[in-house]
């Protein structure tokens, strides 16, 4: 049976460069015009500590997930066979280190796979490149996968990656790569990949991580101020921004903690610049008070939360979707804000642009919920037409008649009041976290408090249907509906696709704006469904808790919370199985 995508795994101990080889291959495939999605898999620490596997799916079709089983695995040492080999597809190929691996441990792998010996270690020693086994593996890959000409692109990438380490390192890596190609061409004969069809598009693609996509998106959206404090897995946002934003005249400030970081961005936004900060759970918790200030004082602001496993310090290097409740509700008092979540790396770029536009348009804090899995995963991204990216301007105050006092917090039909900025004559006012009247003076009058609360929340009535950001996929007539979000979305889409092939019907709705929740769209979606399933990677069912109160039900409906809380991603198969099980129950 032919297939239009190829899943490759490269596994090794730390120091053997599985990850850097994977990164090179991902970039090369993207530049060749293929779609690529990747994942890094660290086994549980207790077993095989320090081992990693880089998984990569390439296809001419969109690659929604990194795939479940591999067609090809390159195992750079013996120990990892035991840990990772059960993820090779039946009929797939394992390339193991012939020179070092005992024949027993290979034979003992009681799998219906093809085991191809490659003398990685010996070859590397022969060419004096003991640390370049990973490049030999890339060479072997290039030698056997003939559908696309990877060679020149991989060399280009090796150059980018190693040029700053000096010529000798660079040359060693290239020699190793070539040695792998030659070995494959000369020695490996019994590999047949003819069922795999890869037809790259002619224009190359970009490749980046979700965190890079966020950082670049911010610059394209016109953001010119960043303040932050390092925290795994969000630090790379700041690291990218620190190198690039100053070139555009922006300021990047390393703050003493997350409270200072967000307050600095509030100051910068008040002073007129688009600004943002990025953090992870513990930082978001510390920012709670300031988020409320931005809501009350009506300061546009973007906060990126690259979620990790929680609660507390939790699992800093693992993904989880555990901060949604906190993002939506984690501030004292009724705080107007918007929460938005991207579904993959490319979406990180576009949702970041949306986040800034929403913040500027509605003058409030916008929290973008990414997570470790999309934030640190590398994916291909279609080249971006930068000129087509719209930057919505804040509604600036324009003083015309000096006798009319400036109503910074004027009550308007949309809830949005024109904003001035320091330096503008005639626009002075006091931004404030106290309840206030239209003139920005403190007021605790019950009527003022009620009217101002309504004003602040009126903005959300408009925001919730903005940017058409509630998407659907699947068969609209299906009686099984999924509602999901963020990084759980792609596996659900792929699971529905698998089910469709088997004749099982399901549909998914995945809002990008999660708060305010677009009630009427949700209710339209559930109208003809009997079952609603909420797949999400947290324990308490955070999106379920937000969506369910919005249901206006005419009939009883079955609600299934599908929570995964072991810090692993959903697999398309899990979704497929759920659909199948429910369809067969009937």
């Amino acid at each position: 049976m032919s297939q239009n995508n190829l899943v490759v795994q490269i596994a090794g101990a730390s120091g053997e460069g599985a990850i850097s080889a994977g990164d090179v291959l991902a970039a090369a495939a993207a530049r060749c015009g293929l779609n690529v999605t990747t994942d890094k898999i660290y086994p549980a620490e207790v077993r095989g500590s320090g081992s990693t596997m880089y998984q990569l799916r390439m296809s001419s079709e969109p690659t929604w997930t990194p795939g479940e089983e591999s067609d090809l695995m390159f195992a750079l040492n013996e120990q990892i066979l035991d840990i990772f080999c059960d993820s090779i597809k039946e009929g797939g190929y394992l390339f193991y280190d012939y020179s070092e691996t005992s024949i027993e441990s290979v034979n003992q792998l009681n799998l219906k796979i093809n085991k191809i010996p490659v003398p990685f270690t010996r070859l590397s020693k022969e060419i004096d490149a003991a640390k370049a086994k990973n490049m030999i593996a890339l060479g072997v890959f290039t030698g056997i996968v003939k559908q696309v000409d990877f060679e020149s692109q991989i060399i280009k990438d090796i150059e980018t990656k190693f040029k700053h380490k000096g010529d000798s390192v660079l040359n060693t890596n290239i020699t190793a790569f070539e040695a792998g190609i030659n070995y494959a061409k000369e020695t490996i004969k019994n590999v047949n990949l003819s069922q795999i069809i890869l037809t790259p598009s002619t224009d190359g693609k970009l490749v980046m991580t979700g965190n890079e996509a966020v950082a670049f998106g911010a610059l394209v959206a016109g953001c010119r101020f960043y303040a932050g404090y390092p925290i795994t897995p969000a630090t790379d946002v700041m690291e990218w921004i620190a190198a690039e934003m100053p070139k555009l005249g922006g300021s990047v400030i390393l703050a003493e903690d997350e409270i200072a970081a967000i307050i600095m961005t509030i100051g910068a936004s008040y002073a007129g610049l688009r600004s943002f900060t990025a953090t992870s759970g513990p930082g978001l918790s510390l920012m709670s008070e300031a988020i409320g200030l931005a809501g009350m004082a009506e300061i546009p602001l973007v906060i990126v939360d690259v979620q990790r496993g929680g609660p507390s310090t939790g699992l800093p290097t693992k993904p989880e979707q555990g901060d949604l409740s906190q993002a939506v509700f984690g501030t004292h008092g009724d705080t107007p804000k918007i929460v938005i979540a991207p579904t993959n790396v490319e979406d990180c770029f576009y949702q970041t642009v949306n986040a800034f536009n929403l913040a500027e348009k509605y003058q409030l804090p916008v929290i973008l919920l990414s997570d470790q899995s999309i934030g640190q995963r590398r994916e291909s991204v279609n080249p971006i037409n930068l000129k087509s990216i719209e930057r919505l301007e804040r509604e600036w105050y324009k003083p015309i008649d000096k006798t009319v006092p400036y109503l910074r917090y004027g009550i308007t039909p949309t809830g949005v009041s024109p904003m001035s900025y320091p330096g503008l004559a005639g626009g002075t006012y006091v931004a404030t976290g106290l309840e206030h009247n239209e003139l920005s003076a403190p007021s605790y009058h019950p009527k003022v408090h009620a009217a101002m609360t309504e004003k602040r929340f009126r903005k959300l009535q408009y925001a919730k249907y903005d940017f058409h950001s509630c998407k659907k996929y699947g068969d609209p007539t299906a009686r099984i509906g999924f509602i999901t979000w963020g990084s759980s979305t792609m596996p659900v889409l792929e699971g529905i696709k698998l089910a469709e092939k088997e004749g099982y019907k399901a549909e998914v709705m995945y809002p990008k704006i999660l708060y305010p929740m677009p009630d009427s769209w949700i209710n339209e979606f559930i109208a003809n469904k009997d079952i609603i399933i909420f797949p999400e990677r947290n324990f308490v069912g955070q999106i379920a808790n937000i969506v369910i109160p919005k249901f206006t039900l005419e009939k009883a409906i079955t609600i299934i919370r599908m929570n995964k809380y072991d810090s692993q991603n959903f697999t398309p198969t899990e979704i497929y199985n759920k659909i199948k099980e429910l369809c067969e129950e009937e």
Partner: protein
């Protein structure tokens, strides 16, 4: 034509709501006079604060203002100043706001040396919350939260600023408007971060730190004090009786704006001349790094 601004031109329609006799009135007046003396247009000034009686000051001044949250006026102002370096930023607040919850930010703001002025109205009490001990309360001051003995030694704001290497450090007194006005002017004219510690009594809740008790112990700094000698300044700041007023320390260092500009210049050297200053070109170059 040069427009002149009188102190009253900086007064807002919201009138100060402090208790009669509160030391903060004097700081308010010193600020208006200093603004006027420096001739700064109201719209080019930002007065930023945290929370407290003292922190209410932005409402009473007709410049840009930001009444933020408790203890965070300094990082707020760093954001304002970096985003909009042309405006003059004055941060004003209390001892609770600045030295208790906000204590860490003085240290880290000093390291960045932004060109702005921070005025702390120190009444050695939490006024707004109706009288609890603050980090500058003398150990013998008993309040409802420490009715018997105090657990905390009071801290010495000038000494701490010296430890932080804040580039301008002075002390004033609400009972001496003339000197105070001059210190605010000097602080604002200083290029860098200036810290002005003002003894500013709370007549409502502090029975120990009063106009009289302060005045008795106050003395101007020795005329021959060298304001660039940090060790000498430390020695004078360590003295408890007399307590000195005036400028303890004043040195020149690159400001945050200077440093941010330098970062931009160095960063730009990474890019080829033809793309520099063309935003779209720069963004495209950045995108192409992902290819």
């Amino acid at each position: 034509m040069i427009v002149e601004y009188k102190p009253d031109d900086y007064k807002n329609h919201v009138k100060p709501s402090w208790c009669p006799g509160c030391g903060h009135y004097s700081v308010f007046n010193a600020m208006l006079k200093a603004f006027s003396a420096l001739g700064i247009p109201p719209e080019e000034l930002v007065v930023a604060s945290g929370i407290g009686c003292s922190s209410r000051i932005p409402y009473f001044i007709k410049t840009y203002g930001f009444h933020s949250v408790h203890g965070r006026a300094l990082p707020l102002s760093i954001g304002i100043k970096s985003a909009n370096p042309k405006v003059r930023v004055v941060v004003a607040g209390g001892d609770g706001d600045g030295f208790s919850i906000g204590g860490n930010h003085i240290l880290h703001t000093s390291r960045k040396n932004p060109d702005m002025t921070y005025i702390v109205m120190d009444n050695a009490i939490y006024g707004l919350t109706k009288g609890q001990a603050s980090p500058t309360s003398p150990i013998q001051l008993h309040t409802k939260v420490n009715p018997y003995e105090s657990l905390d030694e009071k801290l010495n704001p000038v000494l701490i600023a010296l430890g932080n290497d804040t580039s301008f450090i002075a002390r004033g007194f609400s009972g001496n408007l003339k000197e105070l006005t001059q210190l605010v002017i000097d602080g604002m004219e200083h290029r860098g971060f200036s810290f002005i510690h003002v003894m500013s009594p709370c007549v409502q809740y502090n029975t120990e730190v009063t106009y009289e008790s302060i005045k008795k112990n106050l003395q101007p700094l020795p005329e021959n004090h060298n304001v660039t000698d940090r060790a000498a300044a430390v020695y004078l700041a360590l003295q408890k009786a007399p307590m000195y007023t005036g400028t303890f320390y004043n040195v020149n260092k690159p400001t945050l704006t200077d440093k941010l500009n330098e970062v931009r210049d160095v960063a730009m050297l990474q890019e080829s001349p033809e793309v520099q200053e063309k935003e779209m070109k720069l963004l495209e170059c950045m995108m192409n790094k992902f290819r």
